[in-house]
Structure formats: C-alpha cells, structure tokens
C-alpha cells in the first residue's frame, strides 16, 4: 500500500476475461502485410515538451490486427546540468536514462513502480546513446533522458501466450533509441552522428519444417514463430553499431544467418534514421 498514491480497493481486481479467449487458447496469426525489408510507417515530432531542454514524440503506424496498437513514445531530455556536489568527479557527461511504461500502455495494467524489464530497457538505451554523444564536451555535468511508453507495441496477452515478451521489448527499445536521439538533437547536445534503432527477426511462418526467413521491424502477432531477433543501435555515417541486443537461437545449418540478421537489423535502423533526419531537417527549416 503506497501512502503517496490513491490505492483503490484492498481486494484484488481482475482484468476482464472474454468469452472467446476462454475457449480457444491458440493464437491467431494475422500474417505479415509488408515486404520483408519494409519497416512500418513512423511519425516523429520534436519539441512536444517545451519546458524540457529537448523532447520528441514517436508513433508507429498501427498494425492491422485489432487490439494490438502502435508504439507511442514520449521522450524529454533535461540538461546538461551541473552534477550535485555529492556526486564524484566525472570527466565526461553522465547519462541517466529512464524508461517507464504508462499504466495504460499495455493490456495488463502496469504499476507505477519501475519493473526489471523497464530497467533493462533503460540500460540498453544508455549503452546505445553513450556511443553517439560527444561526452567529454560536458565534464562534471549530467543529462536526464526520460521516456514514457504511452502505448506498448503489442498487446501483452498474445506475447504472454507466446511467452516471449522480449520481442516486444526489442521493438520498444528500437523506438526508444530513435526518439531519444531526436530529443537529444532537439536539446542541442552534440552527437557524433544521429543514432537510430532497428529490429530484425528470423521468423518461421509456414509450420515447423518450413525454411525461416528474415524480416525487419517484426510484429510478433504477424508471425507463427519468431526464432531469433536482434535490436541494433546504429550510426549510419560512421557505420558503427553502438548497441546490439540479440535473443533466440539460430539453426546451426546456416553459419551466415547471424550476420544476415544483423545486416537486416542495420537496414531497419537505417529506415528509422531516414525518418529521424527528415524530422530534424524540418525543424531546422
């Protein structure tokens, strides 16, 4: 019981149980409507939080499947500002990243306290950005990067039944990286390059024995099975990867599969990067 919030009834409340899902547990595959290399449409806008030094809002086009909506992210950047006296000396800027799902972001209501998965995302994001920021330009100072996941990519029910939340988290992370990059640029914090995030996955749509294919920007509910996926933070002009998160297992048969997957991941982040640069251009004009 949190004495700083309004706590609602003492007894446990349950999310609604629907007549249809009760009967059938199996998940429906809507099937992918995009080309393997095509990312979903992305909407990006900076300066949504004027009082912050920089901010950005990102929205992913909603996928066809009802109930599963698009990703909606709001990011604000505060700083650079002097570190508190108590903090130890730091020759470069100290990034603190904070990612939080809104209570209504997912099918299951989220609590107000950060859970481990949200912390993980924060750590990945931190790693992805550290490679992009010119950190030594602000010694003894810190910057806060705060992202609210207003709407999660997937409805968690399906991802739960799949038992693989990670795929959602990867999509979320890719978005977070891109929106954070936009917000940083909006804050005028010098970066070596515009970093953007992208996801590629190895999916198996046609039953167990079909040959798996690689797609970018996957939506788990579109695919029967996701074997593996990787989320990549990538600096296009320098051709550098600042963060790579791989998960799943690749069939031993094809040695190059991993490399292909990463390449596709980079492709995905390139796609995102186009949107990012366009958005930043507009703001300049």
């Amino acid at each position: 019981m949190d004495r700083r919030r309004i706590n609602g009834p003492a007894g446990a409340t349950q999310p609604p149980v629907f007549d249809d899902v009760v009967s059938q547990g199996a998940k429906t595959v809507s099937g992918r409507s995009r080309m393997p290399d095509a990312s979903r449409k992305m909407y990006l806008k900076t300066g949504v939080t004027p009082s912050a030094s920089g901010s950005a809002y990102l929205e992913m086009e909603t996928s066809a499947k009802p109930g599963a909506s698009g990703l909606k992210l709001s990011c604000s950047v505060h700083g650079p500002r002097a570190l508190p006296r108590s903090a130890p000396f730091s020759p470069h800027i100290v990034l603190s990243t904070h990612i939080k799902y809104a209570p209504f972001a997912t099918k299951q209501r989220r609590g107000y306290l950060r859970d481990p998965s949200e912390r993980d995302l924060g750590i990945h994001l931190e790693a992805a950005l550290r490679g992009a920021i010119i950190a030594d330009r602000w010694p003894k100072s810190g910057v806060d990067i705060i992202i609210s996941i207003v709407e999660g990519d997937q409805d968690r029910e399906t991802s739960k039944s799949q038992g693989e939340e990670a795929w959602d988290m990867m999509n979320a992370l890719a978005g977070c990286i891109t929106v954070a990059a936009a917000a940083l640029a909006d804050a005028g914090i010098d970066c070596v390059d515009t970093v953007a995030g992208g996801v590629a996955a190895l999916v198996q749509d046609g039953g167990a024995d079909s040959t798996p294919t690689i797609v970018v920007d996957p939506i788990p509910s579109d695919h029967a099975k996701i074997l593996a996926a990787c989320c990549i933070a990538y600096l296009p002009t320098r051709d550098e990867v600042t963060n790579l998160w791989f998960r799943g297992d690749l069939p031993a048969s094809d040695m190059d599969l991993y490399t292909h997957l990463v390449e596709k991941g980079i492709l995905a982040s390139r796609n995102a990067n186009c949107v990012l640069t366009n958005c930043l251009m507009e703001t300049i004009e």
Partner: protein, 345 residues
Amino acid sequence: MTTPTIDLPGPIFAKLAPHPYQLRALSRGARTNGRATQEPRALSINASPLSHAHGSALVRLGDTTVLCGVRGELLPVEQIPQFRPLGGEEEYLEGEYGGAGGIGRGELRDYDLLVPNIELATGSAPQFLPGVPPTALAQTLSTRVYSLLHAAGLVKAGDLRVWYRPGEGKKQEDGGMEGVEQEVAEEDRVVAYWVLYIDLLFLSYDGNPFDAAWAAVVAALRDTKLPVTRWDPDREMVVCSRAEERKLNIKGLPVACSAAVFMEKEQSEAVTVAGDGRNWILLDPDRLEETLCKEMITIVVDCSDGETRIKSLEKQGGTVLGRELIRGFVGVAEERWAEVQMAMK
C-alpha cells in the same frame, strides 16, 4: 523591489528577477506570456487516442499536455471485505450518482471503485524528474480529482455493478436492511463491480495542471466503453463479451476554471494592512506565474442544464479574493465552460 532601469533581454530579466519582470509586463497591460489577465489558453481535447484503455483522452492546454487513460477491472464482491448486499434493486436505485444527492456516500466511495492517480514525474518539466515518489503537488492533484469525482457524482454506481439474474426479470418485493439476513441464492444479486483505474500522465507541464487534468478525466470517462458482462454460474466468474460494449452514463459536464493572484509586493508581508499594493487575477496561470503567486482559486461549474451549478470551489493562500471577486469569478468560469464544452464535441 523596483523595476531596473537597464533594459535586459526578456529571458534573462525573467530568470534574474521574475517578479519585477511580470510586474513590468502587467503594468504595461499584458502578462509575460502575452495574454490578457482574463485570457485563458486554448484547450484542445482529442478523444480515445489509446487502444488498450477502455476510455482515454489527450488534453492540451497551451504547453500543458496531459493524457488520461481509463481502464476497468473487475472486483468480485467476495473480494470486498466490508461488502454488504443491499436489498432488491430498488435499494440500489436511490443514490445512483455517488448516492442520495449527498457526497461521500454509496458504493463508489465505500468500495473504492474510482481510482484516479496523477503522474507528473515524466520529465514533464525540469522540476518533475522520475525516480522520486509523488510530490506533494502530485498527491494534492490526485486527491482533488478523487474528491471531485465523488462530489460531482460524475459516474453512476449502477454502471459499475455486475448483476447475476437467475430468473431474468422477476424480482422480490423485499428490501431494507433485514433483507440482508435471509439472502436467497435465487434472488438477483450483485456479484462484482467494475473498478475504474483513471491514470493521468503529464507529458508536458506548463502550469494550471488541475484544469487540464480534470478536463482529461471528464473527456476520458465520456469516452469510456465497458464490455457487457454476464455471470457464468458454472465457472463462477464474470465473463465479458468482445462484441458488445456499453458507454458509461456520465452526468453533466463539470468544468474546472483556475486563476492565481499576482501581488504587486513580492512579499506577501503587508497582507491585511492598508497599502498592500495592486494585484492582478491571472486566469489559467502558466508555470512562471504559478511560482510568483501564492493565492489560487479553482471553481468547477456545470451549466449543462441551464442554470449554473457549482461543483467545487477552492480558494486558498491569500486574502485578496473576497466574496465579490469570487462571485465575479463565477462568471468567468461560465465563459470557460462554454469554451470547454465546444472542445469536448
């Protein structure tokens, strides 16, 4: 404090000496944000931006942006320790809206069926960074929304009840407290309640949080559709239909209207003593103005059915706003109501 003679560039002056800055602006007839004292910022509402919530709304009040999501979850009566079935349905009928025209009564409050919470710590402003427990401001806002929800009787208790009707239609003519004692299994009975989690997320903060938050709550509730439910006796649980949804019956349209009093004297020192200087009533104050004002007022009015009903009045932190000014302010609130009503459409 007097206005410096050297003319600094606005932003710097504002930072160095916000009060004289504001004072100078006002004596020139406009606020630092360019608005007239009685001029609110435009309010835009966009309904159901969220897909996972049962109802939602995004409200923009100038640079204050708040997102409200309403989500229903089911609370079986056996999960309510202090639950007390009343008699037949007749009993439930009295006191539909939060009860007997009175406030602080009925199931809504007793069983905590409405759970509003406000989150400011989203980096919505430099002073609201995450990782800290809700500030006094956040807690105060949540409480105000909570009280107003009940006081204004916005939500109908009936909408949140889940009935089990074994013999559809047929009713016992039996009510009263004693009705409780011989509870027959075959009677129609309430088996569960919907609990509405009303979560408010500030994406951008530039003052006057309450007006924005309250507008978002009302809009989100008006947007809320709960799935139609039935009690499954065999599985002993409430089952919802995917196909059918029911809108909530939201009573009236209460609109919040806030203002702050800016005193000529920076220090509230000379309050109550002659010559405490000029003062301005700033409608819909922004972040800077809030920090410069101590006295605040919020009036919540509802003009839906012709005459103006006041749902809440909160004035504190000063002695400028007396009876007459408050009476006058009701008029301002009425105008605001009309504007917000348009925005709600």
